[in-house]
Assembly symmetry: C2
């Protein structure tokens, strides 16, 4: 039985896993480029100018070639992005010591991942839900799972916990990445921007405080306000928001672990005969 598109799938999997490919010596001019060179150039463009600036032309130009030259090595732009995605993941650390418990290891993993996303914000524009199945994605998965397995939770729960963790990290990173991009694009500092916007809000939404009492209360409590230590405030706040969210979530995981251990003990005591 042959499934539609399987040929393309085979090609893309071969690229991702760097399968040996066709024989080494072939007629024709020798290749001046390679998949790896192109992927590296793509990552360089995306790092420097963002995902929006990643075009086949831009990547080709960085290599002194035309856009079309890339198509000899890579079937399409979306394949290139997949390759960039998996390749970039390779720079993540992999060994987390679980001697101090799974929680410390998972926290370190999440923080490293967070910082990784801040170094490569374009990664956040590649949907993690799309099924690429590259080697480094598996390395990353293996890495968290190795730490988290120490918790003793059943496999199904582990899978879901990892999913939720990933969502948290990506969401937090996206918030801060956006925060960083904004002043560059609008030419306004965070403070200027906030000042202008809140002035506009008051102008345009006269009944704000009546319509949104709780939001107003939050603002009066200082939950949304820059505290006049202007420069790195939003950044610091975002970092803290991430730490808090992660901590709260892991508290929840710890609760689940306790329940699981208790359940296992009870089942064990009742007589292990299943």
């Amino acid at each position: 039985m042959v499934f539609a598109g399987q040929g393309d799938a085979r090609r893309s999997m071969s690229l991702l896993w760097r399968a040996p490919g066709p024989p080494q010596v072939r007629p024709g001019p020798r290749p001046a480029l390679s998949v790896d060179l192109i992927v590296a150039a793509g990552i360089a463009v995306a790092d420097a100018e963002g995902m929006a600036a990643l075009s086949m032309r831009a990547v080709g130009e960085r290599l002194g070639r035309t856009a079309m030259a890339l198509y000899t090595y890579v079937p399409s732009k979306s394949e290139l992005v997949d390759l960039m995605y998996d390749h970039a993941l390779a720079e993540l650390p992999t060994g987390y010591d679980t001697a101090a418990g799974w929680r410390a290891a998972v926290t370190a993993w999440a923080e490293d991942l967070w910082e990784f996303y801040l170094r490569h914000p374009w990664m956040l524009q590649v949907s993690p839900a799309r099924p690429v199945l590259g080697p480094n994605e598996y390395v990353m998965l293996e890495t968290v799972l190795r730490a988290l397995r120490e918790s003793g939770l059943p496999a199904g729960v582990l899978r879901r916990v990892v999913g939720a963790l990933t969502h948290l990290v990506r969401g937090a990173a996206q918030t801060i990445a956006e925060t960083r991009r904004a002043p560059v694009e609008t030419g306004m500092s965070d403070d200027e921007w906030w000042y202008a916007r809140s002035a506009l809000l008051q102008e345009v939404a006269l009944d704000f405080t009546e319509r949104f009492p709780v939001v107003t209360w939050m603002e009066s409590e200082g939950a949304y306000r820059s505290e006049d230590e202007t420069v790195p405030y939003l950044e610091r706040e975002a970092r803290e928001a991430f730490a808090t969210g992660l901590g709260v979530f892991l508290d929840g995981v710890e609760a689940a672990v306790r329940r699981n251990d208790a359940g296992r003990a009870a089942r064990g005591a009742r007589g292990g005969a299943r």
Copy 2:
């Protein structure tokens, strides 16, 4: 002091908050369209064909106009997307009863939001971090906060908890939205796809089980496998993953609430001064 781009900001805020605008009777042919019509058409296109198919031409066509006609009402495509974003949010429920406790209310909110995103997957492609400040975004914020404030947590923590909750909901929704899109685009059922891919994986990554022992263990435990109740498996699994993640996180919030209450009691007992 005048900030760069403030004029544009004023225009977009006026549109978002539907400020009265210029006088009603004016020379020139009477407008056949309106901002609301255009926003509705945009949402219709995005709902039906996805964000990728949302072009000014497509929206204009749905209204029997050219793309350029829209620019009389809306300054740019990105403004239109912002308006669509805020407008769509209006369909979210707003009143959650906290009589049964904040947790039930917050859970219901998160589930409604999740289903909302599944109805309008294109919303997930609009970054929530970007600052639009439309009225319905504030309504949504007010809604969660009203429920969550019952927990008694301080404002700063509330803000971060809401952020993390949003990340969880969006991440989970994105996963399932992608899962739904895939079979349509590739013409393969989930099962076919999985079968083809795992065959390819074995072909291309011969040492998979040695390189990824924990992942392999997870798979052997059935954590990633379709259980042969083929049809709605991935969907059901995604739903369950969301429920688990949300539950775990809220367990963590409950722990924070207990700590907070205990701290307040201690401080109170120590003598309420200050």
